[in-house]
Symmetry: D2
Subunit: 336 residues, 4 copies
């Protein structure tokens, strides 16, 4: 059960509600986000909602049968959209395109990528400065210095930044320079990181775990939301299966299923989803047709020289062609 | 290596080629299909193709590095298309739509389904008369009698029939009444069945195994082709993964990968691919955008009363809406 | 519900029972096996078993909540054991060892293998004469001629034969020469083959599907049993997962789970289960400790020259050492 | 390539080596652990090892063809064993048993568990005070206060403590109270956590990821080792597959494979590996027979009242019976 409190609720009113809920045998978590104050009440006993409905200070009450609550569409039918400022939004009924290199490498690369994005009216740039790598001996990214350089150039061009955060201590260091914190597939169930991102007033995009279920992804979002941040985006990026012909198996089914289960925006990553450059294009279009709110993919001026993931990265020409097709595909979809 | 022989090759010419190939250390399989005569030569020794190229009776020679040979695009760049007669083809650059119930149940059902297909200009009807069921106590289909009834009604309406064959002994019984034999996911590696279907002059659609790899699907097609039948269609239908929110995980990646690896037409089945009625529509559109040559899905006049698979079956209204969207999506794709 | 009928039941008594069951809303399958006559009744309505219990001709009645019935331990608590004659049994409380080459290759190989088995008091020899191969160009086995040669040599030495049957038409041809028909992992859900094996009076060992569930394996056994053959053995042989360090992932969990769910003997195959020769030994011992009734593995006089699966095949020296350890491990287990 | 440096190497000697290695086109990571100083050199150029072998300050040089280096047995053939003090070691050729509850709940529970362990001469107790939970509303553990209470009681009884650390900030808080830091399956690729644990002088046990490969587990260990801590233990705990009859699929194959690939001790967790209380016993014995150095499982005085994981937790009677069997099984194994 989710109880949405009135903005101006009196302390005595809130206490009365908490006592009442407790007397019904429910355990309550208080959640205060950018948009509202909620009580998430967990319990099993059946009772008549009207026992609560008349109490002062309550805006709204919803039963939510799912085990995740705040991210469920059973509570909030209206879609959430994320406003990044300067007219850039995610989940407002248009198609969000996020593109850029796997790793931020140097100023020239960033400058060229920004040029490519501006030319094609893409407003959000992806790029990694902290890189999770299986081997400790691989390139681990430029760190915060790279992020600052990137931020300076992006701001001038009106471009928003999405970048992966790998641990709690990086949040503060990155805070001033990112518009969206990305939680990577290896950290989807890093619950401490999720908790901390719940205390931040910036958007968070959570990638599905390497072999995470759809339900686990929703629970991970519930962590962030229940800790105070409802600016959330979910990202399908392929799962690990037995098939070896592709890097991962993009779970296209997850897109309509997530859109049914949650009010949060859902995007997908065809670059990681298939892992083969020449097939990123058809998979990206399939993602749009399946109902995604956006797409995040890798592009680089010279993929064959990229510091990481070159084999799944489009060059700018391919990226430009894809953007054109993505928009036409999206236009067709919303015409249905 | 594949050697395509001339139509009018003399016996002595063929023997000379066979001897030459043998002397090079290669093992040869003679393949005679509806379209041509081939020698598939398996061996490892490197040699100069010109040693063979000048020999009488040879139309064409191709090296094929893949382990599957006849189904590989490395040998045959031009796409194969399957002509079912009466203007119905698969893989000729248009979108093939195949629809119908999971199981053939009775005459009225067939009549109504045919009416729905004719109305929407769909020319191929799917339906099962032999049903593979996990439990021996479940409904196993109407058998050949059902097929004959269906065939009579379908022929009148100009509708082609695709239906699953489960074992060798059914091939002859079904032969006069089907246009496409379907090999189901549990029989993808039933090699005896594949061998026998290679001796038949009817199209064969092979579904990917329940957890079959893309490569295994290609090998299964190679079985049929090398036994003499090149009228082949491949079908992606979802694979088994750990995810429980959908019945199967439709492997949308498989579509562009198969189109790259083989010259055979590639279709996909969104009904089994996701297994949830309300999401068949977006997944079907995604399949088209990913590059499929066709789509096969389940529709029934009253899905809630279907003898099997009702939970993933569209009613005719939903089916009609989907057909309209499929065609618009396909038109957009080929405009790119 | 399973109704076991009396051996000498009168036709009129049986009809009375069938009518009564029908009147209760249950659908009945009559099953006649080597051991008994059963009525398997499928339905949902609750009723008092005593309505049937007093009827003439009934030996025993059991409710079985599982969807598989005849193979369930909820019906038959006592373990089934399979008597192959000449003092060779499976599932009678001793450890059954089945060993031999992947493929039967020639007389000398068979003779040497038999010598190895006799020396070590192993009574059952495995070997393939029909080989399911992904590629149509690979070695497909010696066929029935090889089986006859093997049978002649084995009979002289008192050795029993287990060999894979791939299709219905092979059953009759193999019948006189095998003691146990093996259903391979690619045929676990070849329902027509299972049906036909239900009509045979020889033991059948069913291997778990390549990515088959434990429940599907039980259903496959139910097919054979309900068609009339209760001489059944189940075999865990590794499942397909994402892990690439081994050929398959032996699901050791399946052993105690199967032993809990069914009264049939359960064996496992470490050779396919891990696929790496040097690790067959520890995995075989683990299988015994997990509770298996037997083990089936590959051995060959010269594994490096074996026609197939050499990489997972023990030589005779390794095999002999393993047999010794298997027996000591089994002795320890039953001492607990 | 791994260069082990002499303990008393002079700075000038080390610089000479570093320069030489650099001149050969190799990238070097300096690693200083409790046991030694190493240079891990990554590069591809072939050269004659003798160019380095004669240089002053070098103890030993090994080529390691694996991509992980320091944890590879290709470098260090002798098994690593971990000394926890007071005669408690892991990996020294005896069987290490670690048992205890999923979650530390209260003083009485800890006291009773310690009593059970002491009675059975088990020296290492497991228990969680920080619990990773899918849902933010579930019990998250007693935290450091619970750990301190546990530590006080354990020290009196001569019991060592293994407990999960979930994030970098907990390392310092837990340091004085644990003997082995456990990295859980959701954190196997939390690279920042691994890096930090490399800077600690306490043993670390890394659990395999929920769907982690064997290779990824080795790389994760390489992270800790290369950051300075070679007191490492690897733990197989079941992987995520499609099978739903058990919680996870214990990958028993991983045990001999890991023992072949690494010199680190390998243990396994049957409680998580199968997730069903009544089957923990046979799976635990299978693990021992497969070659594990130890076993970690869950036990609780009243499993049905445990705060978490009760369905896979043994009571003390079952635990005592298991310990007895584990030791007999291990004795048999080492007698082979």
């Amino acid at each position: 059960m989710i109880i949405q409190l009135k903005k101006n609720i009196a302390t005595s009113e809130k206490e009365a509600i908490l006592n009442k809920v407790k007397s019904l045998g429910y355990k309550t978590t208080e959640v205060k986000t950018q948009q509202g104050d909620y009580l998430v009440c967990i319990g099993k006993k059946e009772f008549d909602l009207r026992q609560l409905g008349h109490m002062a200070g309550i805006e709204d009450i919803h039963r939510v049968s799912d085990d995740y609550k705040l991210v469920s569409r059973k509570w909030k039918v209206n879609r959430t959209h994320i406003d990044l400022g300067d007219g850039v939004t995610i989940g407002n009924g248009s198609l969000s395109i996020m593109a850029g290199p796997c790793s931020i490498e140097n100023e020239e690369q960033v400058q060229q990528t920004i040029g490519h994005l501006v030319k094609n009216n893409v407003r959000i740039m992806r790029g990694g400065v902290f890189k999770p790598r299986s081997s400790p001996y691989a390139f681990r990214g430029m760190g915060v210095e790279g992020l600052k350089m990137w931020h300076t150039l992006a701001r001038k061009a009106g471009i928003k930044i999405i970048s992966e955060v790998m641990q709690v201590s990086q949040i503060e260091a990155m805070y001033d320079y990112v518009d969206v914190f990305q939680v990577g597939a290896r950290n989807t169930q890093n619950f401490n990181l999720l908790d901390e991102l719940g205390r931040v007033d910036k958007a968070v995009m959570i990638k599905r775990g390497i072999s995470g279920t759809i339900e686990e992804l929703l629970y991970s979002a519930e962590y962030v939301f229940s800790a105070g941040n409802e600016k959330l985006i979910l990202c399908e990026r392929g799962i690990r299966t037995y098939e070896r012909a592709s890097r991962n198996t993009l779970d296209v089914n997850a897109i309509p299923i997530l859109k049914e289960k949650t009010h949060l925006p859902v995007v997908a990553d065809p670059s990681h989803g298939i892992g083969i450059r020449e097939f990123v294009d058809p998979i990206a279009l399939a993602i749009v047709m399946a109902g995604a709110d956006g797409i995040i993919y890798e592009t680089h001026q010279k993929p064959e020289e990229a510091a990481s993931d070159g084999q799944q990265t489009l060059n700018f020409e391919e990226s430009e062609a894809l953007i054109r097709k993505l928009r036409k595909t999206f236009d067709l979809r919303i015409s249905f």
